[in-house]
């Protein structure tokens, strides 16, 4: 079984803080990580590799040259092959343009039974690239995968809904997107880390290598444009109720009662 796992290197947005004086983002020291949901996708692929023979995992990403380290980490966790699509021409892509690039790369990879993505990336939270790859490859998709099982050429999936889940059968090849509930990702192993740098390789492909039409990628190929960005205004400061005893709590409830909040 050939599995392609699409990953993205993202800044750990949990670590991003706002400068209270200037209202700008403090990015110093914000670590780059493999996007959480993508780790779940990779873990599920690795579990299949643990369980069945002849599973080959290719990790694919689009990003700047620094994304090499994310792919090495995926290799250290146990992926077999790593491909980085890196080209100035893809910079500024929206999800439509990104899926065009990844689709072209997947076509160049050639054979696959399963394409696994994370549901969404924490720096964009769009959840669009997975389904858009599926559309462009004309494959069935199941998103929000919280549990899955492979039998023959069929994958039986639990797809999470807000108030439960659906059980869906889909035939391979297909596109799946993983959520946190699917599994807990393993760490890279120490020997995996040394192998990732010494024995394994990250292939770097340009836009030319994947033979993609430059008109449908990058900033200029994107149907959506960012008109402006701004920092949300914090709400004004409220009232601090002094102390931390019965009187304090009593006062709070008196105010709430006065204002008809309770």
């Amino acid at each position: 079984m050939k599995i392609i796992v699409c990953i993205k290197q993202v800044p750990d947005t949990n670590e991003v803080k706002l400068d209270p004086k200037t209202g700008t983002l403090i990015r110093d020291g914000v670590p780059s990580i493999i996007n959480h949901d993508d780790m779940n996708a990779l873990e599920e692929a690795l579990k299949l590799k643990d369980r069945y023979e002849d599973v080959e995992i290719t990790v694919l990403t689009m990003g700047p040259p620094q994304a090499d380290v994310a792919l090495r980490e995926a290799l250290a966790m146990g992926a077999d092959r790593a491909i980085l699509v890196s080209d100035r021409a893809v910079a500024g892509s929206d999800t439509w343009a990104t899926s065009n690039t990844l689709t072209a790369a997947i076509k160049k990879i050639g054979s696959y039974d399963m394409i696994f993505c994370g549901r969404q990336a924490i720096d964009g939270d769009t959840a669009q690239v997975g389904p858009q790859i599926a559309e462009k490859l004309d494959l069935p998709q199941v998103t929000y995968v919280q549990k899955m099982e492979v039998k023959g050429d069929t994958v039986t999936v639990q797809r999470a809904l807000e108030d439960g889940y659906e059980i869906i059968d889909v035939k391979m090849p297909c596109v799946l997107t993983a959520i946190k509930e699917l599994n807990s990702p393993r760490y890279a192993s120490v020997s995996g880390i040394f192998d990732a740098y010494r024995e394994k390789n990250v292939e770097v492909w340009s836009a030319k290598d994947i033979e993609v039409d430059l008109a449908i990628i990058g900033l200029n190929g994107s149907p959506t444009n960012v008109r402006r960005t701004f920092t949300p205004d914090p709400k004004g400061k409220g009232t601090m109720i002094p102390g931390c005893d019965k009187g304090t709590v009593c006062e709070l409830f008196n105010i709430l009662k006065e204002k008809h909040i309770i």
Partner: protein, 379 residues
């Protein structure tokens, strides 16, 4: 001169940081409080090849280097001194002598499971009357046919009782003093080998420190490690390497305390401003941070020398001497900065202070390190 880590080492650090934060830190206080050996952590470390970082893959190791191993001990010790020493004693003292001095058969039989983390290792040199003067060994080994018969006892053995494989030193010829000491690989199951009293310690309380007792213990002849009479050299060289591990442990404890201080000083307010705004305390942390950084360079440099197969004995001693004293100083100051809260078990700095003390004592006291260093300078 190159002061930056390789990409592999950086990734090992990232792995160990995440592992320590997620798997080790949450149980550190409980392990200390209840004196519980964290067996589950050892199993997890085995899963990620952390138990055999510096050994080649053919012997079950991760194929890494000593600097990566030191980083692993450092990161574990940042959150839990106990876990740091379990890994250090296992790798440097339990597994390394077999890698260095063992026959191919011994390596396959003992090093492979140790490096894979299926078995845990320990090292028995110290005796009630042979501490710093380790040549005064009273445990004896007598050859009887195909076996050596061991009699005597060892004390203060890290991983004692928990370990499966022990490197044990004993006199094969009392008349020869130092040159009459030999090293043996002893399995926990060997007849006549038992575990004695478990120490109730000030710090590293989750680590098991016990007495080992040999009463006509039967050790097959093929478990002699190295040559007869060469045990003292094996012990000393093993300890040279072990000191890098302990220095890394001390470094980690100091860094952990410094991190806690930095966090606390920004949160805690007195006289209407955070502690971080007081110059007197700023100067304290500046000194602490400088000591930590100096210790780090000494530790990494010693590990790097070992990786490059350069002489590292004095450097390892310097690293351990300096890092251990830095750990003691930094953790003591950390408790001071935390004030009354620092003295309570609500915060981890008092545990770090208790854990730090042992690094000035085991695998050669600070005084022994000075002897080693002076001997190198004055030779």
């Amino acid at each position: 001169m190159n002061f930056s880590l390789t990409k592999e080492q950086e990734m090992v650090r990232k792995l160990m940081k995440e592992f320590s934060e997620n798997e080790v830190k949450p149980i550190a206080a409980e392990v200390d409080e209840t004196e519980r050996f964290p067996r589950e952590t050892v199993e997890k470390m085995a899963r990620y090849d952390i138990m055999g970082i510096p050994f080649p893959k053919q012997y079950g190791g991760a194929g890494g280097d000593n600097l990566s191993y030191a980083i692993a001990v450092e990161e574990l010790s940042k959150v839990c001194g106990t876990t740091g020493v379990i890994l250090s004693a296992h790798t440097s003292l339990g597994a390394h002598p077999i890698y260095q001095y063992g026959t191919e058969e011994q390596k396959m039989k003992y090093l492979v499971p140790l490096a894979k983390g299926e078995k845990l290792g320990a090292f028995g040199l110290t005796e009630p009357n042979a501490g710093t003067d380790s040549s005064a060994q009273q445990t004896v080994a007598v050859l009887d046919g195909d076996n050596y018969i061991l009699n005597g006892s060892k004390v203060f053995i890290t991983n004692g009782g928990e370990a499966d494989i022990y490197i044990i030193f004993a006199m094969t010829d009392k008349s020869k003093g130092n040159k009459g000491i030999s090293a043996f690989i002893v399995e926990k199951e060997f007849k006549g080998f038992s575990i004695g009293k478990k120490e109730d310690k000030m710090g590293i309380r989750g680590s098991s420190t016990t007495e080992l007792i040999f009463e006509n213990c039967i050790v097959p002849k093929e478990n002699l490690l190295g040559q007869v009479g060469k045990g003292f050299g094996i012990a000393m060289q093993t300890l040279d390497g072990g000191r890098i591990g302990i220095a890394a442990q001390a470094l980690g404890i100091a860094e952990g305390a410094l991190d806690e201080c930095a966090k606390y000083m920004k949160e805690r307010k007195q006289f209407g401003k955070p502690l971080a705004a007081f110059q007197g305390l700023q100067w304290m942390v500046a000194e602490m941070a400088t000591k930590v950084e100096a210790a780090k360079l000494l530790v990494y440099s010693a590990a790097d020398k070992k990786d490059k197969k350069l002489p590292f004995s004095a450097e390892a001693a310097m690293a351990k001497l300096f890092a251990a004293e830095a750990a003691m100083e930094v953790t003591t100051k950390a408790v001071q900065i935390f004030g009354g809260y620092g003295y309570t078990r609500d915060y981890p700095v008092e545990r770090m202070m208790r854990d730090a003390k042992i690094t000035e004592i085991y695998e050669g006291t600070s005084q022994v390190q000075k002897m080693v260093i002076a001997a190198k300078v004055l030779k």
